[in-house]
């Protein structure tokens, strides 16, 4: 499992994902529409990684806990409270860039 090229297949089959707070892991999971519990280890992480996890939690897209509260979280969690994560809109960027360079 160490360094698989892609977790896409595993993600597709999962009903629940428990992950560290790395941005790639969080976003990839949310985009596949899977419920996500983020385990935060403040000792390991550098601050900026926490920013995204905290924001996703504030917006109701993920559940958060730390290593010691994981079991309790899994026992008491209500996944129906999680809000779906809408996809990003690169088309808005394309529109903006077209104006910037003068392709209209």
């Amino acid at each position: 499992f160490r360094f698989k090229d892609s977790l896409a297949e595993d993600l597709r089959r999962a009903d629940l994902v428990i992950s560290h707070a790395g941005a790639g892991s969080c976003l990839e999971t949310l985009e596949k529409g899977k419920p996500l519990v983020v385990v935060i280890n403040e000792k390991l992480m550098n601050n900026h990684q926490l920013e995204l996890a905290k924001q996703l939690h504030r917006d109701g897209h993920v559940l958060c806990c730390n290593c010691s509260t994981l079991v309790e979280t899994l026992q008491l969690m209500d996944l129906s409270t999680l809000k779906p994560f809408p996809p990003g809109q690169p088309e808005k960027f394309a529109l903006f860039l077209d104006k910037v360079v003068g392709f209209q």
Binding site: E51, L52, Q55, F93, V100
Partner: protein, 169 residues
């Protein structure tokens, strides 16, 4: 590198055929980006038969959490590569999203602009991972880019000259 490459390819995903040729520049230590880029361009070629692209590597300007002073030295070293490369490519538009690699390229482009050789438009898109604070590249390029795009409203508040379009990756 990694997440930056994934993000930048998403940014490129809706661009029209007019954005050609695309010159990808990444760090020599990056092992995975080339494959992702080729795969992206292969798909792009299915829609735009005339799309052209090139790949170039420059020395990585900074390792994660590398100290300030040594970062300046390694960035200057990267510039020995980025300056001739930027001069050769003479881009009209530079799109970057935060890896240390983008700093020497942008500085090179600014230099070429100051010397009257080629003026490039520099568009910087901060990573979606940056919700409350800017990356080091972002803090530098906020002052030197023509357009600085952030993906969370909190950053727009802190950095009023930035552009907020919502989440674009």
């Amino acid at each position: 590198t990694g997440g930056h490459t994934t993000e930048i390819l998403r940014l490129l995903s809706c661009l029209s055929e007019s954005y050609s040729p695309i010159h990808y520049i990444f760090a020599d230590s990056d092992k995975m980006s080339e494959a992702k880029i080729r795969s992206f361009e292969q798909k792009r070629a299915e829609t735009f038969s005339n799309s052209k692209f090139t790949l170039d590597r420059i020395p990585r300007s900074r390792e994660v959490r590398q100290s300030w002073t040594s970062s300046v030295v390694t960035t200057l070293y990267s510039m020995l590569y980025s300056l001739p490369l930027t001069y050769k490519l003479k881009p009209d538009l530079i799109l970057c999203n935060g890896p240390g690699t983008c700093v020497p390229i942008c500085v090179s482009a600014l230099l070429l602009g100051l010397l009257g050789i080629k003026r490039a438009i520099i568009v910087y898109v901060e990573s979606i991972c940056r919700v409350e604070t800017l990356s080091l590249s972002g803090k530098i390029l906020y002052y030197f880019s023509d357009y600085f795009i952030v993906q969370w409203p909190g950053l727009k508040e802190k950095y009023p000259k930035s552009v907020y379009l919502g989440r674009i990756v």
